[in-house]
Assembly symmetry: C2
Homo-oligomer: 199 residues x 2
């Protein structure tokens, strides 16, 4: 007789990681403030109080999720490819990597982009995000002054419009149906760097 069929032997069981990933999913569906611990409990298949065995509370869940997104962005900025070479090439690389991170860590970045600063946790995340934005903005300015980007546009404005397009990916991208991160980045760079209009 087959000694031990290990299926369903072990009790299901959550850990902080699985709680986080499921919670972030619900946060993105209903919004952080619109999500109650009861909602999370239902999604996890446990009672409210069980959540507190794995994580300290709702806000910690948010903090961990936001860090996961921000850490990705800052790891990229630290890469030498973000600091060496022609600014236009660095910008293209940063845009491409941003799309990659956004797709890889989709739920976490989605959550980050919806943060409004309602708590200390959110304000801290906003400040880190602004630091990233400043980095990119500086890059665009360099690209303009190096002649890689047309000079008849305001660099700060272009940065915002460009990353508005990048960040919008969180609003509609579905990993199952959409193309790869590279395909996305190709389309985005074609439009913003090359232009849509047929000459």
């Amino acid at each position: 007789m087959a000694a031990s069929i290990p299926t369903r032997r072990r009790r299901r069981g959550h850990d902080p990681e699985s709680v986080l990933s499921i919670a972030v999913g619900v946060f993105n569906e209903r919004g952080y403030d619109g999500t109650s611990m009861e909602d999370l409990a239902r999604a996890l298949g446990v009672t409210k109080s069980a959540i507190y065995y794995h994580v300290p509370g709702k806000e910690q869940l948010l903090a961990r999720a936001l860090d996961r997104a921000l850490d990705g962005l800052f790891e990229m900025v630290a890469d030498e490819r973000a600091s060496a070479g022609p600014a236009i090439d660095r910008l293209e690389w940063v845009v491409r990597q941003s799309v990659r991170i956004l797709v890889e860590r989709l739920p976490y970045v989605t959550l980050l982009l919806r943060v409004r600063g309602n708590s200390g946790t959110e304000q801290a995340a906003l400040e880190r995000r602004r630091e990233f934005d400043r980095f990119v903005s500086h890059l665009v300015k360099e690209a303009v002054s190096e002649g890689g980007i047309r000079a008849d546009v305001d660099p700060a404005l272009v940065t915002r419009l460009l990353f508005g397009s990048v960040n919008s990916i969180t609003e509609w991208y579905q990993p199952a149906r959409g193309g790869s991160a590279d395909d996305l980045a190709d389309a985005l760079l074609t439009m913003t760097f090359g232009g849509l209009r047929v000459a």
Copy 2:
């Protein structure tokens, strides 16, 4: 004397309109779900219960705000300039008008773009919004097949990236400091239609 026509002398105080515009401001600062009626009361300088003298409740406030944004978009779509002429020109016009509406009705559109469908009110707004998106998406497809827009990009994808850029305006535009809606639209169309890169 036919002076029975009531001279509209108003006492100091609020009306449904002023309550709405202040409420939408708070909704955009803290998020709809993150805003309590107590928060609104504080911003209005009255007690919670005074709000109910002017409006039926919190969700009605949201519904009215969302309609104000959506009505603007659908009025534009109904204009003949959205339906007649080369698709590339119609698209440019729609983008330009979208920017204009977004700037004119900034707080209302901002609120609309953050709706996730948590209630019947929100779901109804989402459905109207999707209808608008479908209109624009169709316009891009036409522009591709008419040869106005390069054919090596997926029309649906381009629509999303393009309007991701447009919609991002709500995330950072400040009427006091930023340029006019026309300036914004110029920069946006320069980037997306003409391309950033110097040839």
